[in-house]
């Protein structure tokens, strides 16, 4: 074999949640097989989810790492930062890295996650803007926030909202521009979004929903945005948070099939032998649709990483992936919102809501025609998201308990848990 060509039994591209769970799963079954992790990042593993707190200063950058060098040494993992996967030659079981080297693998996991999706707004390449996905992004943004007086956040998903809150708290005047007609759409319904919107307005943020940016131009202070209706906004800090796209450019010509993301089966295997994919880059079964969907959330990345690792190591204890269930938690101005499951009302299903305007407690539960829970959403109403997810996944008929459940999902959920899977 060519000396420059390394050989490894397991190769993992990426070093975040999906990758780390796969390492655990592989090592559980195969303590010895050579394992190499190549990653684009220059740091030890960390979570993108913690980055808003790096920006706000709540998390010290030096303390966010999820593993240390010793972990890799103990688990006999060769960890290679700054060595992104550039091209995959699946027919030869070979991965080509950005630094020019190649690695021959027996089994490969693609856990390269996602990157910010940059909208094709005319002029966007002429202005400087921030995104938030990597630690370097976060450190840059943290520095800029301190100096910002007039910030604009493009996109009112959870990433944009988090950053906007940080900007508000740092004393900037903040405008959130969102194309759809409510905040946090896809996570929370209109009632919940209105509560979130009110909290932001109370804190002094400007919110422009239903607004599309049609042009961006550089200015001395930063950028000028022009909206569809002609309004212009000036920004000394522009954050683009309009969603993510899976990281999979290296697939070109590899034969690995992909649509929105890398297509995988219920063992996270791609359409090509010896190649698996997991996490934000994968498109796997959706629990509600049965078809392959994107479900780019942290809990699912860990679950998929584990299934992939077990499949790669040939662990007979593997349990096939049951399909992704959306799960989101969101903290804003000392309040919290939780969403579990699908916001779509299934055919013949029923929606039950309860809203106490005085206390700001809001709950919405969606039941299918079979009496099973399919989604539950709360603002300032705490329930155990993990228990709710199990009620959905296990398809437990809640008909006899429905009224009590809606009145107190925390207690009744726990009661069922204790009787059913404790």
């Amino acid at each position: 074999m060519d000396r420059a060509t390394e050989h490894t039994k397991y190769l993992i591209a990426g070093s975040s949640h999906a990758a780390l769970e796969a390492i655990n799963a592989i090592r559980m079954h195969d303590p010895e097989g050579s394992l190499t992790v190549v990653t684009r990042d220059s740091h030890l593993p960390y979570s993108p989810t913690v980055l808003p707190y790096v920006v706000s200063g709540k998390s010290a950058p030096a303390r966010i790492f999820l593993r240390d060098e010793d972990f890799f040494a103990r688990n006999k993992v060769s960890y290679r930062p700054e060595s992104a996967l550039k091209a995959l030659h699946a027919d030869e079981n070979t991965a080509e890295l950005a630094d020019g080297s190649t690695i021959v693998y027996e089994k490969l996991l693609l856990a390269t996650g996602a990157s910010p999706a940059i909208p094709p707004i005319p002029g966007i390449d002429t202005v400087s803007y921030h995104v938030l996905r990597t630690l370097d992004d976060a450190l840059k943004l943290r520095g800029a926030i301190a100096a910002s007086k007039q910030a604009v956040v493009l996109g009112a998903g959870l990433v944009g909202m988090h950053a906007a809150e940080n900007l508000v708290k740092a004393g900037a005047s903040v405008t959130i521009v969102e194309m759809s007609d409510q905040l946090t759409s896809g996570y929370f319904d209109k009632v919940a979004a209105d509560m979130i919107e009110q909290a932001f307005r109370d804190a002094g943020a400007k919110i422009m929903t239903g607004s599309r940016v049609v042009r961006l131009e550089p200015t001395a202070a930063g950028a000028k945005l022009t909206l569809e209706n002609g309004t212009t906004l000036a920004a000394d800090l522009l954050l683009v948070a309009t969603g993510v796209k899976p990281e999979m450019a290296y697939l070109n010509g590899s034969g690995v099939e992909h649509a929105q993301g890398i297509l995988v089966d219920d063992r996270m295997q791609t359409t090509v032998t010896n190649v698996w994919a997991a996490g934000d880059c994968a498109q796997a079964r959706g629990f509600f649709t049965g078809t392959q969907v994107m479900n780019a959330i942290l809990p699912d990345a860990t679950l998929q990483g584990r299934v992939a690792g077990m499949a790669m190591a040939g662990d007979p204890g593997i349990q096939e992936y049951a399909g992704g269930v959306p799960l989101n938690t969101y903290h804003f101005f000392g309040r919290h919102a939780i969403s579990v499951g699908s916001s779509k009302v299934p055919e013949g299903g029923e929606v039950v809501t309860r809203f106490d305007e005085k206390t700001g407690h809001y709950l919405k539960a969606i039941f299918g025609a079979d009496g099973c829970l399919s989604g539950i959403f709360g603002v300032n109403e705490f329930f155990d998201g993990g228990v709710m997810a199990q009620l959905i996944l296990r398809r437990i008929d809640l008909t006899p308990l429905r009224d009590r459940f809606v009145a107190n999902p925390l207690a009744v959920g726990r009661e069922i848990m204790s009787q059913t899977w404790r």
Binding site: K58, F65, I338, V412, E415, M417
Partner: protein, 446 residues
């Protein structure tokens, strides 16, 4: 080897929903009486007529999902205690852990504004002593496994036991405890059946082992022990025998050795029959039980005689030490094993261990400990010890025993029982209990 951990166990049957545990936790952890902030939560079932209570409490998972989903590295399993610890200085209040955990083990404390979870109060949980009904227990048996796990395992790695049999546990633990300076006698039965006497010219143990006849185990072992003594070598003489070999055809040599005070530890693994050779009845088989020689058919309904109480007979030999034990109560078993070893240095020590047989008793292989526990909880078997100095006393008294049916229905060998037969067994349980109680009152001391 991996570590075992202490754990808080909940017995819903003993809980009456008083909530004292929650008050104690709220006090210990928040300094308030706000039970909503307790990290242990008891829930009554919706149907208030049913007296049944449910529990939400962190189980300190071996494979904790809360840890895997925490983006801030704020949760970690402590390798020494097994407790999943929460680091407030790293937590970012994202609540993802509450979505990861399927057991409601970590939840938002709305007053504090952070998540909170049970940390077992550094090994001294406030909730456990607060329970007035003994529904909560802090189980520390793990300490035994951690200590013993570091000692040399003197049995062969692979052995041919039935799935779920607790005899392997007994053999490995006992041999670890007695140590390498031991000579072991294993008469025909499950222990050699599992491989103690070995295969292809090598033994299944790392200590000298021999395979006496059923009839002469105690006699042969006594001779070997005496010979070692004569040549000036201190060895532990140990027999691990089945109930058949001890109570039936081997009884005269056992009785003789006990009467002569031979210096040995004689352990009986009582699975209530000749299970290794095809599940025939022995004199230790209980009344009503199915065996292949007490079949169930048109005319016969299992064994028609009661079991012989071998350990009580051994008490009447005034042995240096006699005790009964169960693998469902390992701490108790270990204390007795230690005392028995000590007693065998100067006299005859007898340890009778009840050993449910997955194959012969007909219950699922994952339920051995459960069956063993039920036997004790119904008083079907009693745990006690005897020394000539202190007489006989219970080491685990069961004041409110469960009905014996709770034990009987846990396995297939009693499935055919007629109500009269169940009644007979229940009466015998009460009679046996009274009998042993009387012996504790009139403890022979001298």
């Amino acid at each position: 080897m991996g570590r075992a951990y202490s754990t808080i166990a909940f017995d819903p049957a003993k809980c009456d929903g008083c909530g004292d545990c929650m008050k104690a936790c709220a006090q210990a952890k928040t300094g308030t009486d706000d039970v909503a902030r307790s990290r242990i939560q008891i829930y009554g079932r919706g149907d208030a007529t049913e007296k049944d209570f449910e529990l939400a409490l962190c189980r300190q998972c071996a494979d904790p999902k809360c840890v895997t989903v925490c983006p801030a590295g704020a949760l970690n399993k402590d390798g020494t205690t097994g407790v999943i610890g929460w680091d407030a200085s790293k937590c970012v209040d994202c609540l993802l852990c509450t979505v990861g955990c399927a057991y409601a083990g970590i939840a938002l404390d709305e007053t504090a504004g952070h998540v909170s979870k049970c940390d077992t109060c550094d090994g001294n949980p406030a909730c456990v002593p607060a329970c007035p009904h003994g529904a909560l227990k802090y189980i520390t048996t793990a300490n035994i496994y951690n200590e013993v796990g570091d000692w040399e395992d003197l049995f062969a790695p692979g052995l041919a036991g039935c799935q779920g049999c607790n005899t392997e546990l007994l053999m490995r633990h006992t041999l670890r405890r007695v140590g390498p300076d031991t000579v072991l006698a294993t008469p025909p039965g499950c222990v050699p059946g599992m491989g103690s006497v070995g295969f292809n010219g090598t033994t299944g143990t790392k200590i000298p082992v021999f395979h006496p006849l059923l009839t002469n185990t105690a006699a042969m072992l006594a001779g070997i022990k005496r010979q070692y003594k004569r040549v000036g070598r201190e060895v532990q003489a140990l027999a691990i025998a089945g109930d058949g070999g001890a109570s039936d055809v081997g009884f005269q040599s056992l009785s003789g050795a006990a009467e002569r005070g031979e210096q040995m530890l004689f352990m009986v693994v009582d699975n209530e029959g000749y299970m290794n050779t095809g599940m025939q009845r022995s004199s230790c088989t209980p009344y009503g039980a199915w065996t292949s020689t007490t079949p169930v058919g048109e005319t016969s309904r299992g064994k028609t005689q009661d079991a012989k109480n071998l350990p009580l007979i051994m008490v009447n030999h005034r042995c240096a030490y006699v005790a009964t034990a169960s693998t469902a109560y390992m701490e108790d078993l270990y204390e007795k094993l230690d005392k028995a070893i000590a007693a065998s240095k100067t006299g005859f020590a007898y340890l009778h261990v009840y050993s449910p047989c997955t194959t012969g008793w007909r219950f699922p292989s994952n339920l051995n400990m459960e069956v063993a526990r039920k036997a004790v909880e119904t008083n079907f078997v009693m745990l006690w010890e005897y020394t000539p100095q202190e007489g006989l006393h219970f080491t685990k008294s069961v004041d409110n025993p469960l009905p014996v049916t709770d034990y009987l229905k846990a396995m297939g060998r009693f499935r055919h029982l007629e109500p009269e037969q169940v009644e007979h067994i229940q009466k015998k349980v009460v009679e046996n209990q009274k009998f042993v109680e009387r012996m504790t009152e009139h403890a022979h001391v001298g």
